[in-house]
């Protein structure tokens, strides 16, 4: 590294070149033996091959990269931006002895260009960023919500929407529903629940068992699944009323495991680890999605005079999940402005003050637990319909952790934040499944980066429930 004193004496190019030469020398020392000498097995045994051209190119690339970065540090922003882009572009066409060096050249050029571009953009952004929160509160959030809703509604008719994508989108919507449900408990009421998956399981198994033993359809089981889950929410709520923070988290964690273990071991009822299969799909107002419906019923494609397509069922299930999620959203947004929703937030802020104001913490906590659980149960019911097969394995602790991660990552209490986080946490890992094991690495890296840059979640802004209309009444 050059010091400030030498900088003053030498012209900037010479100083940058010297810095780059030093780095290149280190690179030569490292790449010489590691890349330059290569043990290859031939018919006569192991021989050492030399690869000096590769070494020369690697050292040259290191020199160039360091030189450009050093110039960037000396405020040559535009030339470095141009040079970075030129290197990246040139790397695409110039022949390299191997593909890795080509990738390093292109990626390196792009990174240098990106850093230069960031330096250009950053000073301008700070002024805009200052005005942002107020704007975000007024119309950005509703506008983004409307845009997302429109996109979600139109997704099945998009040209790129294939069966796999819609199936994934249904799963994402299920997790959004779960995230919103848990958001009531964790985000609004401030009660850390690590066993939320229990209610998901209760909902899913309610539907599966009702269908299995009493031949209930999806639509008959849906409200019951929500109701059962809400009852379990109250059941969990009672013993943990006096607990807060860490202790609450431990007990809820135990509750989640209890449900899973009961489901695994009560073989007579749940078939244990074998799970329950053959769970019916939802019908369209009684019309099934089958090529040849049973006697006396008309299938969906016959009613609408369409050619039979297995896609209909996938699309329909997606819309069922989406409708339920949108209803849940409206419900939660409404209840937040009602006394009970306000009381959840007040309880999160200060329990003692709540009592002093005549609020009964018991009923507030129980209502938060039971309503949150109800959405979990409904999500579980849709999940069971999507999978047609469920087993206790689907409801392990990691599910609770993922749902909690969605809520925390989204920014506690933010509805749109949950959507973004659900797409990020559920959609992306599935999408990049081809990358196999690397996707979990990338996923973990992404989580770390988000927590570094946005420790309070993607959208940590809390929308007040009352604003402008009353402000207009007061003249300035």
């Amino acid at each position: 590294m050059t010091t400030a004193a030498t900088d003053r004496e030498t012209p900037p190019f010479a100083a940058a070149a010297r810095e780059a030469a030093l780095t290149a020398a280190v690179a030569l020392a490292l790449t010489g033996p590691m890349i330059g000498l290569h043990a290859a097995s031939q018919a006569t045994g192991l021989v050492i091959e030399t690869r000096w051209p590769e070494v020369a190119i690697a050292v040259a690339l290191v020199f160039l990269g360091r030189f450009l970065l050093a110039l960037l540090g000396r405020a040559f922003v535009w030339p470095v931006l141009a040079a970075g882009l030129a290197v990246a572009g040139g790397g695409l066409f110039v022949p390299f002895p191997n593909a890795l060096l080509k990738a390093v050249c292109v990626a390196g050029g792009l990174i240098v260009a990106l850093r230069a571009a960031l330096m250009l953009v950053r000073p301008r952004m700070t002024a805009a960023a200052r005005a942002k929160p107020a704007l975000a509160a007024r119309w950005v959030a509703p506008a983004a919500g409307a845009a997302m809703t429109a996109f979600a509604l139109l997704l099945p008719v998009m040209p790129f929407a294939d069966r796999q994508l819609l199936d994934l989108a249904t799963l994402v919507v299920i997790y959004i529903l779960l995230g919103w449900g848990l958001n009531i408990v964790v985000g609004l009421a401030g009660l850390l629940d690590l066993g939320y998956v229990a209610f998901y399981a209760v909902g899913a198994y309610s539907f599966a068992l009702l269908a299995q033993y009493f031949a209930f359809s999806f639509w008959e089981a849906l409200p019951l699944a929500g109701l059962f889950a809400a009852m379990f929410g109250v059941l969990l709520g009672f013993p943990v009323l006096r607990l807060r923070g860490d202790y609450l988290a431990i007990v809820t964690l135990g509750f989640g495991e209890m449900i899973r273990i009961v489901l695994t071991n009560w073989v007579a009822l749940t078939r244990g680890p074998n799970g329950i299969s053959g769970i019916p799909k939802p019908s369209f107002f009684g019309a099934p999605f089958a090529r040849s419906p049973p006697e006396g019923t008309e299938a969906f494609h016959q009613i609408f005079d369409l050619a039979f397509s297995p896609m209909h069922r996938v699309i329909f299930l997606y819309y069922v999940a989406l409708t339920l999620a949108l209803l849940a959203n409206v419900f939660i947004l409404r209840i937040r402005t009602l006394p009970i929703g306000r009381a959840w937030e007040a309880l999160r802020e200060d329990e003692i003050a709540c009592r002093a104001l005549g609020l009964n913490p018991t009923s507030i906590k129980l209502s938060a637990f039971s309503l949150g659980a109800m959405f979990g149960g409904i999500a579980g019911c849709v999940f069971a319909a999507r999978q047609s097969f469920i087993s206790p394995e689907s409801f392990s602790f990691i599910e609770s952790a993922i749902i909690l991660a969605i809520v925390v990552l989204g920014g506690m209490g933010s509805q749109i934040g949950v959507v973004c986080a659900a797409v990020l946490l559920i959609g992306l890992p599935e999408w990049f499944r081809e990358l196999q094991d690397y996707r979990m690495l990338a996923f973990g890296g992404l989580m770390v980066m988000i927590m570094v840059w946005r420790p309070r979640g993607l959208l940590s802004h809390r929308d007040p429930t009352v604003r402008l209309p009353a402000a207009r009444e007061t003249p300035p």
Partner: protein, 249 residues
């Protein structure tokens, strides 16, 4: 209106109240003064049922509320502005005030009238109604805490150290507001204070608490003039002012 009869209270094994008896008549401002740790705040909390009195009786308008749960006591018409204000920091001023009205099941018109009343008493809150509670100054937060307590339309207002950590000018504003509430609306106030001089100036009667028991009681003006009280609680910080305005209250 409020009568406390031989109340004992414990924190674990430590006895905080040793048979406290006092009463607050309708339309009065009664103050309870005493040193740090004398048990003043504990007494207020005991009235609210947390901690519960281990022995003794607490009567509110003739009803025994000793064993009632806290929220029921609050709903019966006792509003409590707790020590340290305890406003909801992430909620706006407006939302904080609305939280105060949640427990009182009333129609919107009454609620709106209450809100106007609070804004009339503390115009500063009206200016800041869409600001988050946590961003208010200490004095504004105290106004908000009192305003929030008033939103339930209480019969008795319990105030715990409203002067805590406030600038002298703010203390004066807050105490003026308390006196106004009592004079114009006839609100009964039970005020716990360390700032004995300010408290005794607006109060009708006062009690002095030492080590969890009432050591002295009487007319506020008489207490303010009392040699012992002056020596213990007044001459330290406010002696000179008290001497200058001795006959004022």
């Amino acid at each position: 209106m409020l009568r406390i009869d031989g109340a004992h209270a414990f924190y674990g094994h430590i006895q905080a109240l040793r048979g406290v008896s006092l009463d607050v008549q309708e339309g009065e401002i009664v103050t309870l003064i005493g040193a740090n740790g004398a048990g003043k705040s504990t007494l207020l909390m005991t009235v609210c049922g947390n901690p519960r009195a281990a022995a003794g009786e607490i009567l509110f308008r003739g009803e025994d509320i000793t064993r009632w749960p806290t929220h029921r006591i609050a709903r019966a018409g006792i509003a409590h502005a707790p020590e340290g204000r305890r406003i909801f920091p992430r909620m706006t001023v407006m939302e904080n005030l609305q939280m105060g009205a949640v427990a009182a099941a009333e129609d919107d018109a009454r609620r709106a009238a209450r809100l106007e009343h609070v804004f009339g008493l503390f115009p500063r809150l009206a200016e800041r109604r869409f600001q988050r509670g946590g961003t208010l100054s200490g004095g504004e937060q105290q106004m908000l805490a009192i305003g929030r307590a008033l939103m339930s339309g209480p019969k008795l207002l319990l105030l715990d150290e409203p002067s805590l950590g406030l600038a002298p000018i703010m203390v004066r504003t807050i105490f003026d507001a308390i006196a106004t509430l009592n004079r114009e609306d006839g609100l009964t106030v039970f005020l716990v204070e360390q700032n004995a001089y300010m408290a005794l100036r607006i109060a009708h009667r006062g009690y002095v608490m030492v080590n969890g028991a009432i050591a002295m009681s009487g007319d506020a003006a008489a207490l303010l003039a009392d040699e012992e009280v002056r020596a213990a609680y007044l001459d330290g910080g406010h002696g000179k002012i008290a001497a200058g305005e001795g006959g004022a209250p």
